[in-house]
């Protein structure tokens, strides 16, 4: 296989929250079209890494590098990172009372792609087809963003945004949590349909089950702020069977042996 271009590259990223280091040197390279999964137990720093990369003001990247398509993300604020092609699907999406889903999406689309009449028209058409893909009722458009949404509805709205904003790199922070099996299938279909062969997807998850639908090229295991192991898709299944204990740093030698 010919070398594909590295689309997303992070080098030795350290993250602090309120002065406490929660990510302790993580490196990762993703080529365009690749899907990676970061798995790990609660508190391993997965979500902190995701939020820090997206530019959350409470998560300070104290050292390291991050490049998207050759652009230095760490010189940008959250807005600029988004416009550069980064997307974070939130674990806990926020309610914006009084702002309809349609208005919110239109505003975000306008910020990213500009807002002339023609784009507005194609926006409506596209929105309709994405509703169908994610099996979303039309009434969704006039509801207020995440206001009174069920867990499953919130996750669908996240993937709807991904589908509309067409990021080059999408980080999905526990998008599978709280979904029943039907919703998981629908959301997974949405992810697969939204990411083109040029785009990269980084799935952050506890569980292996979403990886049955969104097939990763690589799986990384994160513990105590570090990636302790990387492997192919089989690693996910192994984790499901054996849990994380066997790869705790104490046992790391055995793993590598």
């Amino acid at each position: 296989m010919a070398d594909k271009k590295i689309l997303f590259s992070i080098r030795d990223i350290h993250v602090s929250v309120e002065g406490k280091e929660v990510v302790k040197g993580v490196s990762l390279d993703m080529q365009g079209g690749e899907k990676h999964a970061i798995m790990g137990p609660n508190g391993s720093g997965k979500s902190s890494l995701a939020n820090a990369l997206a530019g959350h003001p409470n998560y300070t990247i104290t050292s390291g590098e991050a490049f998207l398509d050759g652009k230095n993300l760490l010189e940008m604020d959250a807005t600029a990172r988004s416009l550069a092609g980064l997307f974070l699907a939130f674990q806990y999406p926020l309610a914006i009372p009084g702002v309809t889903v349609a208005n919110f999406l239109r505003t975000a689309m306008k910020a990213k792609f500009g807002g002339d009449e023609e784009k507005l028209r194609s926006f409506r058409k596209e929105l309709k087809s994405r509703f169908e893909l994610l099996e979303i009722d039309n009434s969704f458009a006039t509801r207020y963003v995440n206001d009174g949404f069920s867990g499953g509805e919130k996750k669908r709205l996240e993937i709807l945004q991904m589908a509309m904003l067409k990021p080059k790199v999408a980080i999905l922070d526990e998008t599978d949590s709280g979904l029943d099996i039907d919703a998981l299938r629908i959301v997974s279909n949405g992810i697969n349909a939204s990411a083109t062969s040029e785009d990269s997807v980084l799935l952050v998850t506890h569980y292996q089950r979403i990886l049955n639908y969104v097939k990763p090229d690589k799986v990384h295991v994160m513990m105590d702020g570090k990636i302790v192991h990387s492997g192919g898709p089989d690693l996910a299944r192994q984790l499901e069977d054996q849990g994380y204990d066997w790869m705790k740093p104490d046992n790391a030698e055995k793993v590598e042996a």
């Binding site: 997206a54 530019g55 959350h56 003001p57 409470n58 604020d77 959250a78 807005t79 990172r81 988004s82 416009l83 997307f87 974070l88 939130f90 999406p93 926020l94 914006i96 009372p97 009084g98 702002v99 208005n103 919110f104 505003t107 975000a108 910020a111 990213k112 207020y144 963003v145 945004q161 904003l165």
Partner: protein, 476 residues
Amino acid sequence: MAEVINRDNGLNDIGNDYAAKYGFHDPEEYFHKGARGVNHEVVEMISRMKNEPDWMREFRHKALDTFLAKPMPNWGDTELMASIDFDNIYYYIKPIEAQKKSWDDVPDNIKNTFDRLGIPEAERKFLAGVSAQYESEVVYHSLKEDLQKQGIVFLDMDSGLREYPEIVKKYFSTVIPVADNKFAALNSAVWSGGSFIYVPPGVDVKIPLQAYFRINAENMGQFERTLIIADKGSRVHYIEGCTAPVYSTDSLHSAVVELIALEDAYIRYTTIQNWSRNIFNLVTKRAVAHRNSTVEWVDGNLGSKLTMKYPCINLVGEGAKGEILSIAFAGDDQHQDAGAKVIHSAPNTSSRITSKSISKGAGRASYRGLVKVYPTAVKSKVSVECDALLLDPESRSDTYPTMEIDSDDVRIEHEARVSKVAEEQLFYLTSRGLTEDEARLLIINGFIEPFTKELPMEYAVELNRLIELEMEGSVG
């Protein structure tokens, strides 16, 4: 040596056809700009200029006595109110042009002013009668024919008094007595302009009636007086919007608005006010709702230095309903002291108050509300909801809700919330490519959505635009 040159190059003729053109027959009586300050002479002059009946002239004089005798309110922003210099205000200015019926007759400079306010568009949209107040007098007034055919009266208050003296005399100042407060008394003494609406029994006015007000001369007080009577079973929606240019010295706006909803009638009164930052906006608005009638105040306040406004509804008839929906935006160094009053004095009456305020920078928004339920108002329902949004650490919001419930058989709901734009919300929106300013604006628009959704589309757009301008004004 001095040679008197008398060159008649036509300049002398300018203005000769003025009277013919504009209907001024008595240049002697043309009153340009009176002296500053208010006294019995000024009141007498206003009344004579308007050629009013004796009862109104006497009413004005008595009101002036009340104004002079009454102390300033001892509540609200007493400090700011104390800075009003009543002697430095013009109480009456008659515009150069007399009243016009058709848009074509309105002079260009006035049209330009209206253009900048966006009136023609709104007019095209609604094609209702437009009564636009320019300075103290109504200069343009049109009534759509079918409104007239239905017997709907929509005039400026001065014309209303001339053409429908009986109706005016019957209802004028019955809802807000002269002695209600110092500013209502002042308005009663020097009022000019405003709208007069009478809707006959059973008539449904399908399109909103609109008036635009605009203060346009420095140090000019504007004291419009509005009276709306919806007769039995009729329905009407009145919309008033205000903007004002910026002046170097303080200006006073003190209106009185009286609504009367007779049995089974419905009145909605929508206001969006955006005064320049040096204006004192001290307005008395009150409605009386008779049996099974409904009154709704939809009231949006932006701008001004100090606004004190508490739309009130007296529910005097069994089954009457009242709703007051208001928003206030207090920018830097502004104080919006706004609220609502509902008096329940009949059985089975219901009221709902929804108040939303936004404070930005050093702005201060106060909610001041009174709900009074008399023992006679059994089986009544009361709902009060106040939401305050603070945009900056130094922003301020106060709530002064008063409930006087003298009946046991009443259902009451009361909620008050103070919130801030959460950092998490901002991050969520900025991670979608919005700038922080855009994100904040979207959150604010969402916050006031319960209000904007009640407005006709173009007003909702205008309001969001006004708030956007307010937000821009502070950035950097």
